[in-house]
């Protein structure tokens, strides 16, 4: 479908990239990321990149739940909302600082994840997805209606910005390195988590649940841990978002947002770490790139999402390194896709 030579060139580059040492690889990316704000011609480009960073952390969080543990969570944005509202309410009503609220928000979202998770894990497959969708909507409706706490649909404005060592974060380029730090910590945590005993157990569960159980893996606890860790990542970046935007309203946490984050994970390539990063970059930057055709922007975006899934159903990472991702049914059983 695509130019063969172009694809081969990408694949060679990808192979070289994959063989590179992991620390070197992320080191190079870190250097590029550090230079970026000095090369960007306006604050606007830095702002877009900050948004992309927020979505990178979100999709890394969802990737732990979805890609690693194989749970389809359609209400992930609720954790992000809980984090954002925790910061907004605590900083305005109690005057706590960013660094005090961050751990509080992490604990709150973890408890919330525990609550939701322990109820929802009684269900399997699609039903789990539906219930998570339900709690996502419930959180949004609560944010809309608990007016005394959340200010309802108007939202909370004038959220204070964070301080660090006497330095106050004001414009996007000052926030940039804070966002980058969040991303770096998220990537580091994801790596550690994936390589840990729990991470390996989760991969076993995802590949074959019944085999994993019979090997003595405690299914429920491990899934719950992954759910909570994902939730904490979502909640912590929610805190960042609230301080960055200085404004939260229920509109930012719609079902569509959950789905967008899911799309980032899937388009990038589930279960990998580079995947969600690439997916988030594509889905944040693509609508910006399409701004010249502003009216048709979302129309093209929707069509491209369908097209991407058809061309690379295993995500971007699956497209450039197919071996590590699960095989499709077609490869296993050539009969399936025959036109009957």
């Amino acid at each position: 479908m695509m130019d063969i030579r172009f694809r081969r060139r990408i694949k060679t580059a990808a192979r070289r990239w994959n063989n590179m040492d992991m620390r070197l690889k992320w080191g190079i990316l870190l250097v590029i990321a550090c230079v970026y704000p000095f090369l960007a011609s306006s604050q606007y480009y830095v702002h877009i990149m900050n948004l992309a960073f927020i979505y990178i952390v979100l999709s890394l969080g969802l990737n732990i739940v979805c890609g690693l543990a194989g749970l389809l969570d359609l209400g992930f944005i609720a954790f992000y909302a809980v984090g954002a509202y925790t910061y907004a309410i605590l900083s305005i009503k109690l005057g706590l600082s960013f660094w005090e609220i961050l751990p509080i928000a992490c604990v709150t979202t973890a408890l919330f994840g525990l609550l939701v998770g322990s109820a929802a894990f009684r269900l399997r497959g699609d039903y789990f997805a539906i219930v998570t969708m339900g709690y996502g909507e419930i959180i949004r409706i609560l944010a809309n209606n608990l007016t005394f706490l959340t200010n309802g649909p108007i939202g909370i404005i004038g959220i204070p910005r964070p301080n660090a060592f006497g330095f106050k974060f004001e414009d996007p380029s000052q926030y940039y390195f804070l966002a980058l730090a969040f991303v770096a910590v998220a990537i580091f945590l994801t790596y550690r988590f994936q390589a840990s005993r729990i991470g390996r157990a989760l991969e076993a569960i995802r590949e074959d649940e019944i085999a994993a159980i019979s090997m003595g893996v405690n299914l429920k606890n491990f899934k719950l841990i992954s759910f909570i860790i994902g939730a904490m990542l979502g909640g912590s970046i929610g805190v960042f978002f609230a301080s960055y935007a200085t404004f939260v309203s229920p509109e930012s946490f719609s079902f569509m947002e959950s789905v967008m984050v899911l799309a980032m994970v899937v388009i990038g390539g589930m279960g990998t770490i580079e995947g969600p990063v690439i997916g988030a970059l594509i889905l944040v930057l693509l609508p910006e790139a399409l701004r010249s055709v502003s009216d048709y922007r979302m129309l093209i975006f929707g069509a491209l999402m369908v097209f991407m899934m058809i061309v690379m159903p295993k995500g971007f990472m699956g497209w450039i390194k197919p071996r590590r991702i699960l095989r499709t049914a077609e490869e296993e059983n050539p009969l399936v896709n025959r036109d009957f």
């Binding site: 979805c66 389809l72 109820a119 009684r122 269900l123 399997r124 699609d126 039903y127 997805a129 539906i130 219930v131 969708m133 339900g134 709690y135 909507e137 419930i138 409706i141 609560l142 809309n144 209606n145 019944i210 079902f255 569509m256 789905v259 899911l262 799309a263 899937v266 388009i267 589930m270 009216d295 048709y296 979302m298 129309l299 975006f301 929707g302 069509a303 491209l304 999402m305 369908v306 097209f307 991407m308 899934m309 058809i310 159903p313 295993k314 699960l326 499709t328 049914a329 077609e330 009969l335 399936v336 896709n337 036109d339 009957f340």
Partner: protein, 302 residues
Amino acid sequence: MFLQQLVNGVTLGSVYALIALGYTMVYGILELINFAHGEIFMMGSFFGLLFWWILEMTGLSKIIPIPLAIFLMFVFSMIATAFLGALLEFIAYRPLRSVTNRLIPLISALGASIFLQNFAMLTFGSTNRVYPAIFPDFGWNLFHARISLIQIFIFVTCILMMIGLTLLVNKTKLGRSMRAVSQDYVTASLMGIRVNRIITITFMIGSSLAAAAGVMYGMYYGVAKFDMGYLAGLKAFTAAVLGGIGNIPGAMLGGFCLGIIESFGAGYISSEYKDMFAFLMLLFILLLRPSGLLGQQVPDKV
């Protein structure tokens, strides 16, 4: 108050039930949550409106008797939407049928729904479109409740369509093929059933039911808007799950339950939270009966 809420709830519930049938039929056959179904419902509503505009522009709306105009509006919208559904299946789902990861078609559906929503916004505008008030505004008072003609019409039409669908699925050759495909499509194809054709037909039937629901919704509330598919689709989906997804009588039951719960919730507790009742209900039912009201417990596949 009680009877009034019940009447409103049943009306709303029958609309949800019709949309839910599309979700359930597609799920029953492909095990795919067709997330673009809400947008199909929205497009159905707009196709009805488009037909009425054509009638008005050509001046035919004054000549044709009202019942015939309404009937034609339904027929036009259902046929157009059926083809839209078939097109959706052909473009967004068929190329992905061999993919084992269930998330992939989901994302594709999502892309399709973003596309359709923006398509509707660009063609029909982003404001509320007024639906023609062609339905005669009769009503009867019954024990302090008002039952209008359109409510009876919606209820009766929905019931007739559901009976029609049940007969189609249970009594005809096509229905038998559909059931066979939903059981096991490789075996069904070996028995000489053209699986792709059956899947397309399923999409067409589901979409045309959603279109009928869309036209009714437009007539009942008097407006159509490009983003109305989202919440209606979500609710209908909830209804399908409530009844046990993949189960046709379940979808109907779920639709009616949801409509009535929502209506009572809005009437007795608070109208701001009315959308929440649907989802809370969903959580409760699924925690008590994980496979829905009429769903069967599926054993683990080893």
